[in-house]
Amino acid sequence: MTKLPFEGIRVADFSWFGAGPIAAQTFATFGAEVVRIESETKIDSLRTVQPFALNPDGSFKTGYNVSGYFNNYNAGKLSVQLNLNTERGQELGYRIIEKSDIFLTNFTPRVIDKWNLRYEQIRQVNPRIIAAYAPMQGLEGPHRDFLGFGAVLTPVTGISYMSGFPGRPPMGVGTNYPDYVVNPGHTTTAILAALRYRNRTGKGQLIELPQIESVVNVLGTAVADYFANGVIQTRGGNRSPIAAPHGAFRCLDDAGIVGSTDRWVAISCRSDHEWIETCEAFGQPGMATDPRFATFASRKANEDALEELVNSWTRTHRAEDVMTLLQERAVPAGVVQTSQDMLDRDPHLKQRGYYRYLDHPETGRAAYDGPGFQLSDTPGRHAWPAPLLGEHTMDVCERIIGLTPDEIANLLAEGVLV
């Protein structure tokens, strides 16, 4: 079997919630030993929130190990409990950092200070460390101590102001959106670049990812449009400046979908040709030459009527059928999928094996997101399911820190390994 790219690399993962652990997940998947430092005295809230696995009678399982939210981002990692509010806990944390290649945290600067985890401190014990900090606003500056998570960042960075329908309040996008790809993905990219630099020069470095900067970066068009043109972009619904029709259109309800049976299909026509194909697919070739819709400019000028027309077509079809009908004619179209679709129905994701299924001692068999890219020769793996809280405390203390069983017993009694 081919060696994985990060065999021999160790990550001291002092992060929590979504963005930090997802960044570290990539290293675990591709062979690194990722040690998650946790504590029941400052529990990762994701361990305590829904969705929980169910008991056979339908009630929720309880405890720190049954949240699908937490588990999904932590497969193949080690969990060690260290109480960093104790001096001894901090000292043990340093001994893990000393033997690691990468340090990662997304705690606030205030907590980093309290636990003595500043870069100039940890580089003393490990000058080659690549230390990545991903605070909300940055390590410096007037808003350094501002609090938040993805759902706060969504309005602060402009996503809320620019997403959704005109006339609706800036309600955001229903999730902590930046926590899942934008911030962890940028963090991982920076660490990988720093690893390459270290391989060349032997030098470690400090990486700072102010989450606000990382997110505004991907909204750059709107910001640069303001700087260049003074234009303040705002919510434009589902429309596009380069395609019409462009949106989500209502289809026949589907009683097989749990929760809400409404069904939608996304359609976007970037050219007159794609619009003609769409009209023909629905048996309405005359609409392609209707002067209201014949050109891109006329479709944009009559977009309300255009959308009403397309809705009247889709409303009598199953969403899956509209997708197939249009895709057979090479028109971009896709079902607005629920998770039920993605896990149980989507034949494509299934064949590509995107979701990974792992047997977890408390949740039972559960699905995990696979990596967001597939490598042909070193595909990576979820070596084991998410760790139970403190599952590897003994292992890490003995093998990495080098403590004896007696020392470990004493530290447990002193409340350091909790």
Partner: protein, 415 residues
């Protein structure tokens, strides 16, 4: 001159909307990125907004610019034998290819991974497409909205009364590009160590799908679908201190009941200090305000006898909160709320971002000199700060700006 993290990494890209941001990330980190473009430029070169007062064209698209900084541009017609031959030479002198054409497109031109690997075993070849290079939907036509739909994020965004919402900024494309940058660099590190390159296959549908948050696990563990709930996200009912509030000049968003900040009684302290607490210190409101936390609420709501009187009290408290915030500007509510460690976010407009005091204090925006327009335009900075090898932005190239220089360097190599 500081060191660059990706110094010496040679990248050739054949990308448009899907993959160009991947190339930008590598280019800002110091890789030498040559963008091969068709005559006239691709879709992104012709996507608005354009710089006002100038001809809308390949060299004035802001949408293109923000995904193509720090690169070189070479125009080649890949439908000609000559164009294909030059592209092949470029690739064979590179470490990395990034391309975002439909599966099969590069193969038809003799430029796919399998055609090139024998001559360049160390090559990392990254393909960014809507659905990846294998599977029953591999050849599906793709645009960003199709990726957001099929990737499961649209169904979570918006109000039930509206169609599912698109997230601004081509986020399926951006997600695919970010995952592609990660996958490319993992493969580059592996190639550095072993001499073996590989194919990196990125599907935009898969790339964005982890952004479903807990929806995937909710179906997997509980056989329930999360639906779109407007401003409330995962919180089941409208509650004071959670959601979008109108202020004098816009909106703010509060998550006071979420973990991670000060609690509701501290929010009431602020309201009281400004003399806007009305009757919140009287019963039944005082007790509700004192206890208002998600854990307390879920206990109370489980018992219909207790929940009955609480609901009208919550609605009243909500009205008091609305009146309090309606008298503030967005900046006041944000700055003072955060000073009090309350989870308050400002709904920033692009103009607010341009003036954001944190971004300004950190000198995040960069002045880019567009010499060919005789203009300096401010630009959003890079996503990260690397102490030894800072990412740096230089202006995006004009269409074909480096064709002559890159091709003569290539001929020089041959000689």
């Amino acid at each position: 001159m500081t060191d660059r993290a990706l110094e010496g990494l040679r990248v050739v890209e054949f990308t448009d909307e899907l993959g160009s941001y991947c190339g930008r990330l590598l280019a800002d980190l110091g890789a030498d990125v040559v963008k091969v473009e068709p005559p006239g430029g691709g879709v992104q070169r012709h996507t608005p907004p354009f710089v006002k007062g100038l001809d809308a064209g390949p060299d004035t698209s802001i949408a293109f610019w923000v995904h193509n900084t720090s690169k070189k541009s070479v125009v080649l017609d890949l439908d000609t034998d000559e164009g294909q031959a030059i592209a092949r030479q470029l690739i064979l002198s590179a470490d990395v290819v990034i391309e975002d054409n439909p599966p099969g497109w590069m193969r038809q031109r003799g430029l796919d991974y399998h055609a090139l690997r024998p001559a360049r075993p160390k090559l990392v070849y990254t393909s960014v497409t809507g659905f990846g290079h294998n599977g029953p939907h591999a050849n599906y036509a793709y645009t960003d909205i199709v990726g957001q739909a099929m990737g499961g994020v649209m169904t979570l965004a918006g109000e039930m009364a509206d169609p599912p919402n698109l997230i601004y900024g081509n986020q399926a494309n951006v997600s695919a590009s970010i995952q592609a940058a990660e996958g490319t660099l993992v493969a580059v590190l592996h190639a550095d160590a072993t001499g073996h390159g590989q194919h990196v296959d990125v599907s935009a549908q898969e790339a964005i799908s982890i952004s479903q948050e807990t929806a995937m696990q909710t179906w997997d563990l509980q056989k329930r679908n999360r639906v779109r709930t407007g401003e409330r996200g995962m919180i089941p009912i409208a509650l004071p201190g959670v959601g979008v509030y109108e202020v004098i000049d816009g909106h703010v968003v509060l998550f006071v009941l979420a973990p991670g900040g000060a609690d509701f009684p501290e929010f009431v302290d602020w309201i009281r200090e400004e003399g806007k607490a009305e009757d919140l210190d009287q019963e039944p409101y005082a007790e509700v305000c004192a206890n208002l936390k998600m854990s307390w609420l879920s206990q109370v709501m489980a018992d219909p006898a207790k929940a009955g009187p609480i609901l009208p009290a919550l609605m009243h408290i909500q009205e008091v909160v609305k009146r309090f915030l309606a008298g503030k500007t967005a900046a006041e509510a944000y700055e003072e709320g955060q000073r009090r460690r309350l989870l308050v976010g400002i709904v920033s407009t692009p103009k607010d971002l341009a003036g954001n005091s944190q971004l300004r204090a950190r000198n995040w925006f960069k002045n880019l000199e567009f010499d060919f327009l005789n203009r300096v335009i401010e630009f959003p900075g890079t996503p990260y700060r690397l102490s030894e090898t800072p990412a740096r932005i230089s202006r995006p190239p004009r269409l074909g700006e480096h064709t002559g220089a890159v091709l003569s360097a290539l001929h020089g190599q041959e000689d």
